[in-house]
């Protein structure tokens, strides 16, 4: 019986190890390539013979990474709180208030998720130009603020909260804004964190829209810098691209690790009666 259990545990660990290798294998390979020196071949050996950080320095300088990193950080820093704010505001009446056309409004909002970006790219470009949002941080994040996905996600979270909690707050004299801000929002914190992570990831890696809406290359973001490096006309320098890719990805990983503890909150206590 004990042996059977050990074999089962071993099997589970082997499967987990297999999927871990598949998942982080490319990341490790990229890291190893990025550490290889100028005279070393990418495919000569797996491990770098004389590890160096020079590719990181070259990529940082060559791709104007400092400026692009700042633009990306500012855009993302704006998109996350603004998207959380607008989505949570827009979703509240859709979950809790009764008004004519509510179902239609929700249907229209959700159906926009099915429209490919390419279809409304040109009108959006015109609109942002008319609004003076070309080459601005708000212009960069216009697609990430008040997203249909976010509204839907937050609305679903609101629906899980017992109405009695809000009703008792009204009895205590709170107004609707106070109920929303002090009672409801704290209860959907894990959902808001999830939305924040999604917004962070999409804004950090957004490529086509920032490229289209930016006619001043000083406003380019990291993903555009990475594309410039990898599409170099004389052929891509894999070591530089690997270093640049990692520099682009690392902030997302840290943010995810930092915020993942909040995901625990979504399930803890769920089994209590």
């Amino acid at each position: 019986m004990k042996n059977k259990k050990r074999i089962k545990t071993l099997l589970i660990y082997l499967i987990m190890l297999f999927f871990t290798v598949i998942t982080i294998g490319p990341f490790i390979f990229t890291l190893l390539i990025s550490l290889k020196g100028a005279q070393e071949g990418i495919f000569t050996t797996v491990l770098p013979q004389d590890p160096t950080l020079s590719n990181y320095v070259d990529a940082f300088r060559g791709a104007n990474f400092g400026a692009f990193l700042l633009n990306t950080a500012i855009a993302t820093g704006l998109a996350v709180p603004l998207n959380i704010l607008f989505c949570s505001l827009a979703a509240y009446p859709l979950a809790r208030m009764d008004f004519r056309g509510k179902t239609l409004a929700l249907t229209v909002i959700i159906s926009t998720m099915a429209v490919p970006f390419q279809l409304f790219m040109a009108p959006l470009f015109q609109l942002t130009g008319d609004l003076g949002l070309r080459n601005s941080y708000l212009g960069l994040i216009v697609l990430q603020v008040g997203t249909a996905f976010g509204i839907f996600l937050v609305r679903q979270a609101y629906l899980t909260i017992p109405k009695a909690l809000e009703e008792s707050a009204y009895i205590d004299g709170a107004n609707i804004f106070q109920v929303w801000f002090r009672v409801v929002l704290p209860m959907i914190k894990p959902t808001l964190i999830t939305l924040g992570i999604y917004t962070f990831t999409f804004t950090w890696g957004d490529y086509l829209w920032p490229l289209l809406n930016t006619t001043n290359s000083d406003m380019y973001t990291l993903s555009i810098g990475l594309a410039q490096l990898s599409q170099s006309f004389s052929g891509a320098n894999m070591k530089l691209i690997s270093a640049a890719s990692l520099m682009t990805t690392i902030p997302s990983i840290f943010i995810f690790i930092w915020l993942q503890r909040y995901f625990v909150g979504t399930t803890s206590g769920a089994v209590k009666g």
């Binding site: 070393e40 104007n64 040109a122 080459n135 002090r182 490229l211 290359s217």
Partner: protein, 446 residues
């Protein structure tokens, strides 16, 4: 009270965030076409010119373009030039989108496919009236042809590459191969000999989106057309059938890697760097990634003539400069394009870039091309410059060009991996091409 203060502070912070967001550090004011400029003397060029380059950012290009801009602005004090770079793959989409507003560039760096597509939608200015016949004669003939769409000149040629062969000299020597093959049977024999020696696959056929296969078919056809008056005839050409058949056989025999089905130049470069292939045809910029990714392989690399009959035409790949139709300053835009493209600046650009050819006859006479040295990249430039004598734009820009490329890509890959008989694949491909020409009403020969 403290709670309310906290809420108010939070709202104020958000308002501040939004105000900050709308600022940005870019310039949103467009000063093009102001009244003063319109009233200025017509003889003197004026206006703000924006030039979009394609994947030419960072070192060593930034310095080159800064000098270019400064020099042109000194020559024309009323003109201000802004140079921005766009990743090449998104250039077409970006130009088309920008044309829907007032934010389009004035000069743009396009490949002929993008140029044809944008011109077909009326997005480019026909510039034949702006440039004299004498000026047009300063270009390599085949290169200038690439700027024509629907019989009108829409772009001027900038830098070029042509097809050459690249081979791993060490592998060639160990297999006892002394010359690059020039026919399908020779390619097959060479690949067999090398694979026996190295134990690896040895040949790679770059496919890309199908354009390379179309160009190869035209090269193999030589003086014969592959399309006559809108009817595909390549399926009756023995050399093209032999080409498809040989590729399938070599794949089947393990002389061509399974990864060849993907067919991108990046895959070819990776296989060449890892010494899993030994020879192929490619552009003269092919070694760019190899030089940094596998220095020892780079040192062993040599360029040779294309892998076909020396008298056959090879394709010339051109990067053009075009002027979008809604520019407010067409004269200044064309003048700037001409300035970028003059012999002196082209030579300087080619030296800066290292592995491209200029499109002006005068620049090509410089010893940088006639006697470039014996480094691997230099052998490529020399072979490319020599190939220019038989180089031309083999596939004209037609409205259905993208469809033809896709059809050819799929047919070639299906043949390569053995899904279909080569002759049947070519017959079907010819039928598909004919249908495309017929539905578009195109009656062209090439």
């Amino acid at each position: 009270m403290g709670k309310y203060l906290k809420s108010i502070m939070l709202l104020l912070s958000l308002a501040l965030l939004m105000a900050l967001a709308a600022c940005g550090n870019g310039e949103t004011e467009d000063v093009e076409g102001d009244t003063d400029e319109e009233e200025a003397d017509e003889e003197e060029l004026s206006g703000d010119i924006t030039f979009w380059t394609a994947s030419l950012s960072g070192d060593p290009f930034d310095g080159y373009f800064d000098e270019l801009k400064e020099e042109f602005e000194d020559m024309h004090p009323e003109v201000s030039v802004t140079i921005q770079d766009t990743p090449q793959n998104e250039m077409e989409q970006r130009v088309l989108t920008s044309l829907t507003s007032d934010d389009a560039p004035d000069v743009v760096n396009l490949n002929p496919h993008y140029m044809s597509n944008i011109a077909s939608q009326g997005g480019l200015l026909p510039i034949g009236d702006y440039v004299s016949d004498d000026y047009q004669e300063t270009y390599v003939e085949g290169a200038l042809e690439s700027g024509y769409y629907d019989g009108e000149l829409h772009a001027l040629p900038w830098y070029l590459t042509t097809t050459v062969s690249w081979y791993n000299q060490e592998h060639f020597e160990s297999a006892g191969i002394e010359e690059v093959p020039t026919s399908m049977p020779e390619i097959h024999e060479t690949a067999t000999a090398i694979s026996e020696e190295t134990g690896n696959t040895s040949f790679f056929q770059i496919i890309n989106d199908g354009n390379v296969i179309m160009e190869k078919m035209s090269t193999l056809a030589g003086d014969d057309y592959i399309v006559e008056d809108g009817t595909a005839v390549f399926n009756e050409n023995e050399k093209i059938v032999e080409y498809f058949t040989t590729m399938q056989e070599m794949y089947d025999e393990g002389l061509i890697s399974q990864e060849n089905a993907e067919g991108g130049i990046g895959t070819a470069q990776e296989l060449f760097m890892s010494e899993d292939i030994s020879f192929l045809e490619g552009g003269i910029t092919f070694l760019g990634a190899v030089e940094s990714g596998a220095p020892s392989v780079y040192e062993n690399s040599v360029a040779g003539d294309p892998l076909n009959d020396p008298d056959s035409p090879v394709n010339i790949a051109v990067m053009n400069l075009a002027v979008p139709a809604n520019t407010d300053h067409p004269e200044a835009a064309v003048a700037f394009a001409e300035f970028v493209l003059n012999a002196e600046n082209q030579l300087e650009f080619s030296k800066t870039a290292g592995t491209v050819l200029p499109s002006t006859v005068e620049s090509l006479e410089d010893e940088f091309y006639t006697d470039p040295g014996d480094s691997p990249n230099a052998t490529g430039m020399k072979a490319g410059a020599e190939a220019l004598s038989t180089a031309e734009v083999l596939i004209p820009g037609t409205d259905n060009n993208s469809e033809l490329r896709n059809l050819t890509h799929d047919a070639f890959v299906d043949t390569l991996i053995g899904n279909v008989d080569p002759q049947e694949a070519l017959d079907q491909l010819a039928e598909d091409w004919n249908q495309s020409f017929s539905s578009e009403g195109i009656e062209i020969s090439f």
